[in-house]
């Protein structure tokens, strides 16, 4: 049981669950994290649309 719990805790988390983007309701399917987005852009032949936010996000995803 303890081993199973430790294994579960060591699993990588879905970045979207830890990111303020989880509260976003714009309908935009934000790609996270950046290196995943970049890899997808390569594979799918797409451009990245990057919105840097200047120190405006909070834990509630405000920007």
């Amino acid at each position: 049981m303890l081993l199973a719990t430790l294994l579960l805790l060591s699993l990588p988390q879905d970045p979207a669950l830890e990111h303020p983007v989880r509260l976003d309701r714009t309908g935009i399917v934000w790609a996270l994290p950046f290196e995943n987005a970049r890899e997808r852009a390569r594979l799918e032949g797409r451009l990245l649309a990057i919105k840097p936010v200047a120190f405006g996000t909070t834990a509630t995803g405000c920007w």
């Binding site: 950046f34 990245l48 990057i50 919105k51 936010v53 200047a54 120190f55 405000c62 920007w63």
Partner: protein, 285 residues
Amino acid sequence: MLRSGPFTDERVIGLLNQRFIPIYFDLSSKSPASDIDAKRFVTQLKPELGGSRVPTPPVLFVTADGELLGEVSNYASESEVLGALRDVLRKNSKYAKPSDGEDERSRLARAHTHHYLGEDEEAMALLSGPRSAKESLFVAQIARRAGDLDIAEKVLEGLDSKKFADDIALEHGLLAFARGDVKTMRLRLAAYSEEGARAPEARYFLGIALFHLGEHAQARATWKKLIEQYGEHPFSYRADWAYTQTTDEGLAAERSSFTTQGRKSLLGRHGYMGRNNPDLTRRSD
């Protein structure tokens, strides 16, 4: 600004999702939305975004290899953002190809994509001949956005007014707004039911109609109720922006722009709203 303006437009959202890989991150390493790889990538393109005091960053259109092909201001309007998205795709067409399986979708879904890309003739050609009610509603939207208001009205008149009462009310309300007839706009939007799928949008524009009729306090109460009822929703963001730019007497004398301090909006936003909400100034310009 983007969230309360262009990011409430289905064409902008549709293009970002269907033809781009969209990502946002915070330049601050302390933010939960920070991304060190993204920051390194972006500051190579825009060194001015590397400091502790930076200009408001634009949206950047970049290849995976780091070639900057375009950008659009954080304070751009819906049409400016849409134009920038379409423009960068037009100039770099190898990034604009349809995704696998895209052509097998319904004709309405394909028409939507054409419309997002600015290919309205192709969208209309797909929807010519006998149409479902949903397809006719979309044709009316295309016509309204193109400024063909009489055509839009005629298409709406052919729909079952009981079965599609909410959709028709909203479209008629937006058509009246496009004509500058805010009395009709108010009447149409007030008829939209609480249960309708686009109720937040209808409530937002009802507030806009009230505002232009001089019923400022009632307009603000409408936006406030929308935000309380729907929370994090694109039209809550838009209502939040309208609320911050107004008082019960009309347009606020000193409308706020970006700040990290001071009074927050109803949704707890500090800024990124921009000074000029086009919905509020359209009739007083």
